[in-house]
C-alpha cells in the first residue's frame, strides 16, 4: 500500500520532469546567462570566462546612447500603433460581420493564411509590393497619374509601410478571437435588450463590448507580447532603416550581436526589453482581473433578467 501511494505522489513529477528539465536548460538558464553577460564586455570570439567584467557600464552607456533611446521609442510607437489599429479594425469587423452570412467559414480560413506564412516571406512580399518602380503600389499610383511614394526610402513612409504589413498579418487574429467571443455571448442578455428596445449601438456599447472585454484583453495582451517579438518582417523589408526609423529593439539586439559583435551590449539591451515587457504585462494582468469581475457581474445580472 505504501509503495502505491508513493507512486501516486510521484506521478505528477514524472509527467512534468521532461518539460521542466527542457525549460530550465534551454530557457531559464539562458535568461540567467544573459543577465550575467550583460555585465561583461564580451566578443563572440572569446569564452565568456575571458570576457572583462564591466559592471553596469553597458546599461549606463545604453541609457545615455541617443540611438538606443530612439530605437526604444520606435519599438514603443510601433507596438502601440499596430496593436491599437489591429484591435479597432479586428473588433469592428467582427461586430459588423457577426451575422449569419454564408461564406463566413471561407473568410475565416483565408484570414488565417497571413498568420501562418513565414515572417520572412511576409517581409519579402511587402518589400516587393513597396518596390519604388515595379511594386504594385507605385505602379498603380503612376497609372492613375499620381506621384510615386518613397515607401521604404523615407523615414516616415517606411514606418507606415511596416505598420501596414503588420496590420495585414495580424488583424485577422483579433478578428477571429472577437468573433468567437461574440458567438459565445449569452443570448438571453441580447434578447432582453431587444425587448427593452435597445438600438444596435446601445447593444454594442452596453452589452457586447463589456461582455467581450475579458477576451479582448487577452487578445490585446497576446498581440502586445507578439508585437515586441516582431523582427523578421522588418529585417527583410527595411533592415531598420532608413536611418533608425524602423529599427525596433529586437532588430537592434540582432544587429548589435551579429554585425557589431558586442554580445555584452546586446545582452543589456535584451534585459531592458525584458523589463519593459514585464512591466507592461503586469499592468495588463491586473487590469484583466478587474474586467473579468465586471463581465462576471454583468453575466450574472443577465441571467437573473
Amino acid at each position: 500500500m505504501t509503495s502505491v501511494s508513493r507512486i501516486n505522489r510521484l506521478t505528477p513529477y514524472m509527467f512534468l520532469a521532461p518539460a521542466v528539465v527542457l525549460l530550465v536548460v534551454a530557457l531559464l538558464y539562458p535568461i540567467g546567462y544573459m543577465i550575467y553577460a550583460s555585465f561583461l564586455d564580451w566578443r563572440p570570439s572569446q569564452y565568456i570566462g575571458e570576457a572583462e567584467f564591466v559592471g553596469l557600464r553597458n546599461y549606463i552607456n545604453l541609457w545615455n546612447d541617443e540611438a538606443f533611446r530612439e530605437s526604444f521609442g520606435v519599438t514603443l510607437k510601433f507596438a502601440a500603433v499596430v496593436v491599437t489599429l489591429e484591435m479597432f479594425i479586428g473588433v469592428g469587423l467582427a461586430l459588423l460581420l457577426d451575422r449569419n452570412l454564408r461564406g463566413m467559414a471561407a473568410l475565416r480560413t483565408i484570414f488565417i493564411l497571413p498568420m501562418m506564412i513565414a515572417p520572412i516571406v511576409v517581409g519579402l512580399m511587402w518589400r516587393y509590393m513597396y518596390h519604388p518602380t515595379v511594386g504594385i503600389f507605385n505602379r498603380t499610383l503612376k497609372d492613375w497619374g499620381f506621384e510615386p511614394i518613397p515607401w521604404l526610402s523615407d523615414g516616415t513612409w517606411s514606418f507606415v509601410a511596416v505598420i501596414i504589413a503588420d496590420v495585414w498579418q495580424w488583424t485577422p487574429f483579433i478578428f477571429i478571437l472577437s468573433l468567437a467571443a461574440l458567438q459565445s455571448l449569452p443570448q438571453s442578455a441580447l434578447e432582453a435588450a431587444e425587448i427593452d428596445g435597445a438600438t444596435d449601438w446601445q447593444k454594442v456599447w452596453h452589452i457586447k463590448l463589456p461582455l467581450m472585454m475579458p477576451v479582448l484583453i487577452v487578445a490585446l495582451l497576446l498581440r502586445l507580447i507578439d508585437a515586441f517579438k516582431v523582427l523578421e518582417v522588418i529585417l527583410v523589408m527595411t533592415n531598420g532603416g532608413p536611418g533608425l526609423s524602423t529599427e525596433i529593439l529586437s532588430l537592434r539586439i540582432y544587429r548589435t550581436a551579429q554585425e557589431f559583435q558586442e554580445l555584452g551590449v546586446a545582452a543589456a539591451m535584451s534585459n531592458y526589453l525584458l523589463i519593459l515587457l514585464i512591466i507592461l504585462t503586469t499592468i495588463m494582468f491586473l487590469y484583466n482581473k478587474g474586467a473579468e469581475n465586471r463581465a462576471e457581474r454583468l453575466r450574472a445580472a443577465a441571467q437573473e433578467a
Binding site: 501516486n8 506521478t11 513529477y13 514524472m14 509527467f15 512534468l16 521532461p18 518539460a19 521542466v20 527542457l22 525549460l23 534551454a26 530557457l27 531559464l28 538558464y29 539562458p30 535568461i31 564580451w42 569564452y47 469587423l93 459588423l96 460581420l97 457577426d98 451575422r99 452570412l101 463566413m104 467559414a105 473568410l107 475565416r108 483565408i110 484570414f111 497571413p114 506564412i117 513565414a118 520572412i120 519579402l124 512580399m125 511587402w126 516587393y128 509590393m129 504594385i136 505602379r139 495585414w168 477571429i176 468567437a180 467571443a181 459565445s184 444596435d200 475579458p214 507580447i225 523578421e232 529585417l235 527583410v236 529586437s250 540582432y254 550581436a257 551579429q258 546586446a266 545582452a267 515587457l277
Partner: protein, 291 residues
C-alpha cells in the same frame, strides 16, 4: 446597421467580405504570380502584374540540384536550397514531435494533479511565453557554442525550438485536457490501468483536436523561424529562412527566384490552413475564450 444579427443581410456585407478576402490573399497571389515571371518581365513596368507569359524557370533555378532532369538554358545552379529544404523538414518535424510529447505530459500533470510546486511551474511557463526570441539570441549562442558544443548541429537547433514552443503548447493543451471528463479516467483506473496507461490510452485519444492544433502551431514556428536558426546553424544545417535572408542583398534582388523560394517555404503552412482551419481556429481561441 439596422439589421439584427439573425436577419439575412444585404449585399453590402458580401461586398465587404469580398474586399477583405482580396486584401488577405492579394499579396500572396502577387507572390505566386511573380514566382512564374521571368526577371525581365518583373523589371518591365509595361508587363501586367497578373497577366504575362508564365515560366517555371524560377522554380527550376531554386530546385536545380534536386531535379531529376537538367533545366534547359539555365547555367547557374545554387545547390543550397535542396539541402536547406531537407534540413527545414527534418528540424521542424523532430522538434514538433518532441514538443508535443513532452508538452502534453506536462499539461496533463498541471491540470489533473495537485502537488507541491504546481503554482510555480504553471506561472513560470506562462511568463516564458512572453520572452522574445531576440532576447535568447546572445545567451543561446554563447551556451550552445561554448558549453554544450551544439552549434551547427541539428540537436542544437531542435533543442531551442522545443524549449521555445513548450510554454505555448502546455498552455494550449491545458485548456483541452480540462474538458476531458474525469469519470472516464476514474473508470480506467478502476479497471487497473496505471497513470501512464490512463494518459496514453484514455486522455490522448480524446484531445486529438487539441494535439492537431498544437502540432500545427509548433510546426509553423519551427518551420518559419529565422533568428536562432541563423545563429546556431552551420553550413550544412542551414534552414530555408536562413538561406532566403542570406540571398537578399541590399539592392539587387532576383525577385522571380526569391518569390519562388518564398512560395516553396509557404506551401506547408498553406496546406495546413486549408486542411485544418477548424482545428487552428479552435486552438487560437482556446484559452482566450471561455465558453
Amino acid at each position: 446597421m439596422s439589421a439584427s444579427s439573425h436577419k439575412a443581410s444585404g449585399p453590402a456585407f458580401y461586398a465587404l467580405m469580398v474586399c477583405l478576402i482580396i486584401m488577405a490573399i492579394g499579396p500572396i497571389m502577387l507572390m505566386l504570380a511573380t514566382s512564374f515571371k521571368t526577371n525581365i518581365d518583373v523589371n518591365d513596368v509595361n508587363v501586367s502584374a497578373l497577366f504575362f507569359t508564365p515560366t517555371i524557370s524560377n522554380y527550376e533555378t531554386v530546385l536545380c540540384n534536386v531535379l531529376w532532369y537538367e533545366p534547359a538554358g539555365d547555367n547557374y545552379c545554387d545547390p543550397t536550397f535542396g539541402r536547406a529544404l531537407g534540413n527545414s523538414i527534418f528540424i521542424a518535424l523532430v522538434s514538433t514531435a518532441i514538443t508535443l510529447v513532452v508538452g502534453c505530459m506536462a499539461a496533463y500533470a498541471l491540470v489533473r494533479f495537485r502537488f507541491m510546486g504546481r503554482g510555480v511551474v504553471s506561472m513560470t511557463t506562462l511568463m516564458m511565453r512572453m520572452v522574445p526570441p531576440a532576447v535568447l539570441l546572445v545567451p543561446v549562442f554563447g551556451i550552445w557554442t561554448f558549453q554544450f558544443g551544439l552549434d551547427g548541429t541539428y540537436s542544437g537547433i531542435i533543442l531551442v525550438y522545443v524549449a521555445m514552443n513548450l510554454p505555448f503548447v502546455i498552455w494550449i493543451l491545458q485548456s483541452f485536457i480540462v474538458q476531458v471528463p474525469i469519470q472516464l479516467e476514474e473508470a480506467a483506473r478502476m479497471d487497473g490501468a496505471n497513470p501512464l496507461q490512463v494518459f496514453f490510452l484514455v486522455v490522448l485519444p480524446i484531445i486529438k483536436p487539441g494535439l492537431a492544433a498544437a502540432a500545427i502551431f509548433t510546426f509553423r514556428i519551427a518551420w518559419n523561424e529565422f533568428l536562432l536558426g541563423n545563429a546556431l546553424s552551420g553550413r550544412s544545417t542551414r534552414t530555408v529562412p536562413v538561406t532566403i535572408v542570406n540571398s537578399i542583398t541590399e539592392y539587387d534582388i532576383d525577385w522571380g527566384v526569391i518569390m519562388a523560394t518564398g512560395m516553396l517555404l509557404a506551401i506547408p503552412p498553406v496546406i495546413f490552413t486549408f486542411v485544418a482551419s477548424k482545428q487552428i481556429i479552435t486552438g487560437m481561441t482556446a484559452g482566450a475564450v471561455k465558453g
